[in-house]
């Protein structure tokens, strides 16, 4: 309980709670834009959290995660195009497609490591992007509009508010799950493997299988974020699959604090939020934004979560042990 009151945990949790009540506040202010805006933040928070499982915990730097975001989007738009709007079917398609693609690409990519791994994941994402762009009957580069949103029993994702709460619930559940995962045997194996793969394998653990599992898990969750994004925008477009989006996801994860529980949420919120704030001030916001990102990179490897941690360090070493991790 004591650890929950430390700023590193308290502030993000308060943020999550505040996010939960944004829709009624926005409705009261007659300014529903904020619902759509923060819904997007939540969706990217989910995608960043998903990436965090592979990248932060497993040390697998994937520059191709936007591929799964895209698969998730198209697993809503393609059935919708043919008139199928059952949310369960969309979800099933998304999970199966992401698992299969993630499994195959993961199997091949995990034969390499380091920069080669980064480039191979990028290659797969680019290939997916080119395939979608050249499919003229499904809109190609122009994308597909989605006329029938995913509908589950009692819940239809056809309004930003509906998507908002679905995303919030998913993000909260995912965050809690990552919290448990980090200190679970699976998570510990991954984290150890990130620091010293040979040692882990010499203990008799099949590290490659753990990493593949983490990669596939990460892919499926990212796909689910894509589903929500498609419903939010009522649109699916291959531009969400480009490598710059993959790069932005990595930036969000690292900005927030790699491998930490709340890092991805903080990263997504900060990245998208600062962008929006700066836009209101100056036309040349990109220059300021770029310098700010540079500043954060130079300031601390542990990102925002690490900065919060420094306010009141966890000396018991019971939970995150972020400071120890940063020594690597």
């Amino acid at each position: 309980m004591k650890t929950l009151l430390k700023p590193a945990q308290l502030i993000p949790m308060l943020l999550l709670l505040v996010l939960a009540v944004i829709p009624p506040i926005a409705a009261g202010m007659d300014d529903n834009f904020w619902v759509a805006f923060f819904a997007r933040v939540l969706v990217y928070g989910i995608a960043a959290s998903a990436l965090n499982i592979a990248l932060g915990l497993g040390g697998l730097v994937s520059l191709g995660h936007a591929l799964f975001l895209g698969i998730g989007m198209y697993s809503v738009s393609l059935p919708s195009y043919y008139g199928v709007t059952s949310g369960w079917l969309h979800l099933a398609m998304c999970v199966v497609a992401c698992a299969v693609v993630g499994g195959i690409t993961g199997l091949i990519s995990l034969r390499t490591s380091g920069i080669a791994f980064i480039m191979i994941t990028l290659a797969f994402a680019q290939m997916g992007y080119f395939v979608i762009v050249s499919l003229k009957q499904y809109g190609g580069d122009d994308g597909m509009s989605i006329t029938g949103a995913s509908s589950f029993v009692g819940l239809q994702l056809n309004t930003p508010v509906a998507v908002y709460y679905a995303a919030w619930v998913l993000l909260a559940a995912l965050t809690y799950w990552v919290y448990r995962l980090r200190t679970s045997p699976f998570g510990m194996t991954l984290r150890a493997g990130r620091q010293n793969a040979r040692r882990v394998m010499s203990v008799g653990l099949a590290l490659r299988s753990y990493q593949l599992a983490a990669y596939v898990l990460s892919a499926v969750l990212c796909g689910m974020a894509g589903m929500l994004l498609a419903n939010l925008n009522a649109y699916a477009s291959p531009s969400s699959m480009s490598w710059t989006v993959s790069g932005e996801l990595i930036v969000m994860v690292v900005l927030g604090g790699m491998g930490s529980v709340f890092g991805p949420v903080l990263g997504a919120l900060t990245f998208l939020g600062v962008e929006e704030i700066l836009k209101a001030f100056t036309e040349h916001w990109m220059a300021v934004f770029g310098l700010a990102i540079l500043g954060v990179a130079m300031a601390g490897k542990t990102g925002l979560a690490g900065l919060l941690e420094k306010i009141q360090p966890d000396t018991t070493g019971a939970t995150n042990a972020l400071s120890k991790e940063s020594a690597k």
């Binding site: 395939v131 790069g247 690292v254 220059a287 540079l294 990179a297 130079m298 490897k301």
Partner: protein
């Protein structure tokens, strides 16, 4: 499909490959020897192109514009190294990605603030604007200059790295910086110079590319990915690897783009060929890279580490 067309396309592949090499040379040096992931390499390429364009229009001299580009690249490189890069060497690769990602945004916006959104004009002297008749095709003379410059850089950098004292210090510094420093060498200055060299090479590539490509904000991004593919295939840190890989990638891309649709048309309808051909051709270099990495992750021509 005639033999002369095939030969002409091979020549095209060669010259574009050398162009890719010019870009890749600087990046592979910085990445391989200093282990620094520099996504801002494309921005330095852009700054070089702008410097050459500006000086070229003012003076009308191509040589001066290229020299100006190289000087700009070296200067900006040194400044960046001193301010930011030197503090990031010992960090994780991802911090490099984050930092240089920010730099890319910054430089793109600065360039747009100064020169606007429209592409800028690059002047090319009369002597270099001619054509040559090869295999029945007219071929721009300027492309031969690119090949010449590229080969010069390849030979020059090989000589620098393997036949000079500085090169030896660079190679030693990449393996064991503390030892080199303990032996009385100013490793900080060495690294700064190396980064400046890499940046100068990027700027040189920009200056050479200016006359044939559009010089505008963000021109570095489309080429950055291809450059990364080249250095990964060639082997990180290996300059001769970058040259061979550049040519291989370019040949595969060029021949694939031109002959793959033709090939598909033999088996399938024109409709299908027009749809599938370009898509497959775009994916070709990524497929190539994926296959090479899966079989030989260290690249085709890895640098020899002591």
């Amino acid at each position: 499909m005639s033999a002369t067309l095939l030969l002409a396309q091979v020549l095209n592949g060669l010259q574009y490959g050398v162009m890719l090499f010019l870009l890749a040379a600087g990046l592979t040096l910085v990445f391989g020897i200093m282990s620094f992931v520099n996504l801002a390499h494309g921005s330095l390429y852009m700054l070089g192109a702008y410097a050459a364009a500006v000086v070229g229009v003012q003076t009308g001299s191509f040589t001066l514009s290229v020299l100006a580009a190289v000087a700009t690249g070296a200067a900006v490189g040194m400044a960046l190294e001193w301010v930011a890069v030197s503090r990031l060497y010992r960090r994780d690769h991802l911090d490099h990605v984050l930092a240089t990602f920010g730099l890319v945004l910054f430089f793109n916006e600065v360039v747009r603030m100064i020169w606007g959104s429209q592409p800028v004009f690059v002047s090319l002297p009369e002597s270099l604007s001619g054509t040559v008749d090869i295999f029945g095709f007219t071929y721009p003379t300027y492309r031969f200059l690119i090949i010449a410059v590229g080969l010069l850089v390849a030979v020059g950098s090989q000589w620098l790295i393997h036949k000079t004292r500085v090169g030896m210090l660079i190679r030693a510094g990449s393996v064991n910086p503390q030892m080199v420093s303990a032996l009385g060498v100013n490793i900080r200055l060495l690294n700064a110079m190396l980064f400046a060299l890499g940046s100068a090479l990027a700027a040189l590539a920009g200056a050479m590319a200016g006359p044939i490509l559009s010089v505008q904000s963000g021109m570095g991004e489309p080429v950055l990915i291809t450059t990364l593919v080249v250095i990964v295939i060639g082997g990180i840190g290996s300059v001769h690897g970058a040259l061979y890989a550049g040519i291989i990638v370019s040949l595969v891309d060029t021949l694939g783009r031109t002959f793959l649709p033709m090939l598909i048309r033999e088996f399938a309808s024109r409709e299908v060929a027009n749809a599938a051909g370009p898509a497959l051709a775009s994916m070709l270099i990524y497929l190539l890279m994926a296959v090479i990495l899966a079989l030989r992750p260290q690249g085709l021509f890895p640098a020899h580490k002591a």
